[in-house]
Each structure stands twice: as structure tokens, then as C-alpha cells.
Symmetry: C2
DNA sequence: CGCTCAATTGAGCAACTTCAAAATTAGTGG
DNA sequence: CCACTAATTTTGAAGTTGCTCAATTGAGCG
């Protein structure tokens, strides 16, 4: 399933869109397509990355192990996202682990090629800058939510986000299934608390749970919960 | 107390160090020095910033109001830090408020001048990128701490950070005084919980409290608490 | 001295965590 | 396709932590 970056629409979703034809050729010649199986690491916290991973397909969780042994999911990365960008830019070992949540197709792009473009193409660098600025803003929001919202609010917010990100299947359920443990890891709580919050929302008819799948039945109310206007 | 950027050592602490002589002259000609009094806003959440603020002296808190009306302090900014950078880069209104915690001297640099340098000086852009990458990593850590550490651990960590950042006075106390409410705002808790955690640390002889000032008496033990190896 | 704001303490309550056990689901090999 | 094992989900219950409201103390200031 090898293909050329020049023809890859995915790059429109990230900073690579600022590259010109020649740069794309260069990168396409050096990139390596990889298939990652569900559950496998793309990379692990502390690893020194020699490049970044551009997600063509599949979903990955970016997580960080805390001292107490539980890991906190910082971000869910989907098609078009570039992983490892931050640590490659600052030339440090990565502060996060990336694990595939389903089978993935990714392109590995060596950092030498990126560095080349950073040095010669100001538009690319600016695009990277914009990307980082956005990530930073998102991180600020997460910090506030973690500090000031309760589990019920954070889960409601996550559900709205997930439906938005993964769309819905033919039955109206969120088009991607997460284990309760992963949901708990995103929300930053114990999985039991997560399960209880979900089944409470279920009982209140705000969501429907069918196996592991979740459907949102009342987004308005869920949003109100997030905003602290309802409980 | 007007002075020229060319002679200002502060810029070594941030991305402005990548500017060349001509750029520094240009910026020096357009910058505006301001004195901000304790308690005053540098800018307020939602405001459209026309430039950034380079801190020459004093301390500022960057905070974000959450829906429940409490504000969460995202960062404490000191000498050398540039505020408003993120929102100027992404040309959005700012997502944070900046309030002076003591009297401050800052230089306002118009965004047109920054944009000029971003467009013409790749080194400057790269410096900005590095800065953002660092900020992002810090934010990731904060998220994990918020999600997985308790108030006692977060406060211990903050104290170690504060002593490191503000040094100590002649009596060994941290060289900057924060209200308990601000500490609570940083740590993301109610001020009562913050007070109780502090006075517990005090009773245990890990810290000494004298009025509002705090001295660390056993950093090893405090670090152990942060790391979850002691309680 | 009286006023105001910050700090402290107390007490009750709600939210979360943790450990343990039961129920359900998924996966594997025959 | 079934049976069996492993893993995940769910529920229960006890114990902590942290939140909130209210009252008290203390410090700074005109």
C-alpha cells in the first residue's frame, strides 16, 4: 500500500501542507510506510525519536506514565496527525508513549528531512508554529478542566468530543470503541468511577450503552452538564 | 527607565535572542515600556492582543476562568518570559488573563514587528518553535499531575518549584509571597484544602510558615512526597 | 479604634478511590 | 461451533479526600 506523499491528501491536515513539490518528493523518497497492529507501540516514553509519524489511518493514544504507575492519556490522535513532532523539534527524547488503539497505517518521516525543510522553508516552520500554538491552547483547556470539573462533566465533554471526532455508525453509536479503562485514562480517573458515571448517564437517558458502544441521546443536556448548568 | 532592546539582557532569556542588530533596533523603536501595578491586568481573557509583553521585572499569573467561576492559574511568569505569544502567533484572541502579582516592568512589542521578523528571520521562528515545544511539554506534565496527584503532592511539587524559581531570602524563606488563594489557584483546589495541606506540612516540620512566607525545611522528603514514595 | 480582607478552623457532605467479588464478554484451541 | 480460559465490565462497600458553608481569628490601614 506504498504511495507518494505528493498524492497523499492526508498532508492537507497538518503542517506538511506547506511543503512544495520538491520537498514532497524528497520526503516521499525517504519516508517509510508502516503498519502498526492494535496494541503495539509506535514509540515509548523516553525513546529518542529519529523522526515523526504521520497517521494515515487508525487511532493512537498518546499517554504518559505518572509516578503512581497509572498512565494518563494526553491525546487521541487520528488520521492526519503527526506524532513525535514536539520531541523532534526540541531534540529531546519523547515525553509520551504512543499506542495503537486499532490497526494503523503510518508514515515515518526521518527528522533529517524535516530539519532540512525547517531550515529552508519558512512557511513550513510557520505552519509548525501554528500547530504548536493550537496544541498549547488545547492543553491549557485540558488543565482547567482537570482542575475544576468533576468526572461527570469531563466524561460528558469527552463523549461530545468523541462523537464529533469519530462520527456515528448506522445505528447512531460513536464510530470508535474505547475500553472503559482508556476512557478513564483520558478523563483522569479510576475506571470504576468512569463506569459509574457512564451508567448513570445511561439511566438518565442521556446516552445509550450497548456493549462497549455508546450513543449520545441528548447532546444539549450533555453540553449543559459540561458547562455546569445542569447535573 | 526607558532603554534600548539592544542593551537589554532580558532578551537572552527568550526567543528575542535570535534577532539581529537591525531587527533589535526596529523593535526597540516601536516597543513601549509600561509599568504595571500589582493587581492590574496586563491583558484579559478574550482580548485581542496587538502584540506581546516581555517581562523585565516582576511576576505575573496567567489564568483562565473556568465555567464554574473559579480561575485556574496556568503559569507563573517571571523576568524574561514573553506573554501573549501564543495568541499573537495564531492570531486569535487570548485564552488567558495576565495579572501582575507585584509591580511589574514590561515591554510591549507590536505584533507587526514580530510578524516581520517571523517572515524574514528563520532563526527567530525556530526559537519560537523551540519555546512552544517546551511550553507544550510542561503543559503535558501539568495535565498528568492534575489528573493523578493529590493536593498534598501538587503543593509539595509547587513549593519545590517556587523555591527554585524565586530563590530564598536571608532567612531562608521563598523569595516571593503568594496569597493562599493564588497557591490554591495554581494547584487547582479550594483555598481551604490548600491551607490545610500547608499547615499539615508545617506540623510535620517539612516546611516553616511565618505569616505568608514559606520556608522549605526538608526538600528530600518533599520530593519523596511528590514522587509518591512517602506521605 | 473600626474596617476590610486574608487566613484559619470546624463540621457535614459529596465525590472519588480502592479492594473485592460477581457477571459478562472476548479470545483461543480443539 | 463449542468449551474453556482470560480479560473486561459491572456492582458493592468501606474508607479517603476534597468541597462548601459558616464562624473565628489575625493583620494591615485609614
Amino acid at each position: 500500500m506504498e504511495s507518494r506523499c505528493e498524492n497523499c491528501i492526508i498532508r492537507q491536515l497538518n503542517a506538511l501542507k506547506a511543503l512544495d513539490k520538491n520537498e514532497l518528493k524528497r520526503i516521499s523518497d525517504t519516508k517509510i510506510s508502516k503498519n502498526i497492529k492494535k496494541g503495539d507501540f509506535l514509540f515509548e516514553e523516553g525513546e529518542k525519536l529519529n523522526g515523526v509519524f504521520c497517521v494515515r489511518n487508525g487511532v493512537s493514544k498518546l499517554s504518559k506514565m505518572s509516578d503512581n504507575g497509572k498512565d494518563q492519556i494526553i491525546k487521541i490522535a487520528t488520521k492526519g496527525e503527526v506524532l513525535g513532532q514536539r520531541s523532534v523539534i526540541s531534540e529531546e527524547s519523547t515525553n509520551l508513549s504512543a499506542i495503537a488503539l486499532n490497526d494503523m497505517e503510518v508514515c515515518f518521516i526521518p527528522k533529517t528531512e524535516l530539519a532540512e525543510s525547517v531550515n529552508t522553508n519558512p512557511n513550513f516552520t510557520k505552519e509548525l508554529l501554528l500547530q504548536m500554538a493550537t496544541d498549547l491552547k488545547i492543553a491549557d483547556n485540558i488543565i482547567v478542566n482537570m482542575a475544576q470539573k468533576n468526572v461527570r462533566q469531563r466524561i460528558s465533554e469527552l463523549l461530545l468530543y468523541l462523537e464529533d471526532t469519530f462520527n456515528i455508525d448506522d445505528e447512531g453509536f460513536i464510530g470508535m470503541v474505547f475500553t472503559r479503562e482508556d476512557i478513564a485514562g483520558i478523563v483522569g480517573t479510576a475506571k470504576e468511577a468512569c463506569i459509574r458515571a457512564l451508567s448513570k448517564l445511561n439511566k438518565e437517558s442521556l446516552i445509550t450503552i450497548k456493549g462497549k458502544r455508546i450513543k449520545l441521546d441528548n447532546k444539549t443536556k450533555l453540553q449543559a452538564i459540561v458547562d455546569g448548568l445542569a447535573n
